[in-house]
Symmetry: C2
Subunit: 241 residues, 2 copies
């Protein structure tokens, strides 16, 4: 350890988290009012500064923990943002992460104590700096990722019904899906275990609970098989004439 690079510039590194949740049939973001200058009081992503003693992931998890009280959250690095003047205060690099949260299990009170609110993805206000750009990118990434990775379950409780799952896919992709085709496709993966129990909140008949079988998924993944839940047909470039 030493002074190898002492002639080089050093930079503040912020970690900003785009936190997705799913509630009442809508995809939501956890946003808050910034509590310090500059831009105090404006809407913002949850963020903080990287410390010397922590890795990027550790830092992001620390920040998530502060806001939500949750550990063990699904989280991925999104992108780094480094325009020279992106932060009007001082030159700051931001490394953005996105996280998927089970809103039901979340301690809403803790979030609210931090001045955080769940806001529908369709009603995101103007955020500070380049945070709106980050949200856009995160949403795009989520939409792409959910096709090839079974991460939708991270947004639902451990037990969920197929109508709930379908409603999640519809909220993320902003389009209606055919019930029969959706069920067929998701069930033929063999990754969902049907429970005996029914959820009876939203219908008289009740819908059976299912659970995602992580073990099975890991097995298949190791064998080189991929999850796929394609939902909308891409409009492809084709000269048909």
């Amino acid at each position: 350890m030493g002074a190898f690079y002492q002639d080089e510039d050093r930079h503040y590194v912020a970690l900003d988290c785009i936190i997705f949740g799913f509630d009442a049939g809508e995809l939501k973001l956890l946003l808050l009012k910034r509590k310090f200058e500059p831009a105090k009081g404006e809407w913002s992503l949850m963020g903080g500064f990287l410390k010397n003693y922590e890795s990027l992931d550790e830092g992001a998890r620390r920040i998530l923990l502060q806001l939500t009280g949750l550990t063990n959250i699904y989280m991925e690095q999104l992108q780094s943002y480094g325009d020279v003047n992106r932060d009007p205060g001082e030159r700051t690099i931001s490394i953005a992460f996105y996280a998927l949260i089970k809103v039901d299990e979340n301690d809403r009170k803790l979030a609210e104590a931090h001045g955080a609110h769940w806001i529908s993805i369709n009603k995101v206000p103007t955020l500070i700096f380049d945070h709106n750009k980050m949200v856009e990118k995160a949403l795009k990434t989520l939409r792409n990722k959910i096709v090839t990775k079974p991460i939708g379950f991270e947004l639902l409780s451990e037990k969920f019904t197929l109508p709930q799952l379908q409603s999640l896919y519809e909220a993320i992709n902003q389009e209606q899906l055919d019930k029969r085709n959706f069920r067929k496709r998701i069930l033929e993966t063999g990754l969902l275990d049907k429970m005996d129990e029914k959820e009876k909140g939203s219908s008289k008949k009740g819908a059976f609970y299912y659970m995602f079988n992580k073990e099975k998924y890991r097995m298949f993944a190791e064998m080189g098989f991929h999850f796929q839940m394609k939902v909308k047909k891409d409009a492809l470039i084709k000269m048909n004439t």
Copy 2:
């Protein structure tokens, strides 16, 4: 501008570039021997430190220019790496970029003057720090990206033949493709303009040159149509029994 964040830590930010090229039917990387401590003399990606006055992209382009003499290179941000001890010298964040280069047009002498070498992707040596991890990730990302974005052309000269293009796809995906199906699929996009001229280096008959029509692609993209050149059939998780 001021001292808003003065209690926070500041960090060295490195920019490391994974530079892909395509030559002699092989996908290659531009690698070099590190010229300063720590780890002087070991194989490494091209990198440098972010300056206060430049954005991340600008920094990455500056570094690419130094090594290759090229501007106007296709480049994308890959990922940031920030394990506390990833650099044994000092705590350094690295933001990795990958770039696609037309080797033919490149000034090889300049690259060699910097001690850089084109090395087949199948023969990448042990690199310093976490650079091998970066290469792995970049390769995966390239493989994914080339399916949905017409970026393969960035690795070929402006004029190229269909056998060359097919050979590129084969090199990236490490698998043989059917000539007829490949041609059919790539031509039916309507994005390739056939030239009158033939390339006669690698066969007696000669293969017609084509050019990628960027204008047409941009038009289609704006209209919401997507490029797709799927090449290998995914092994999907399915319970067939």
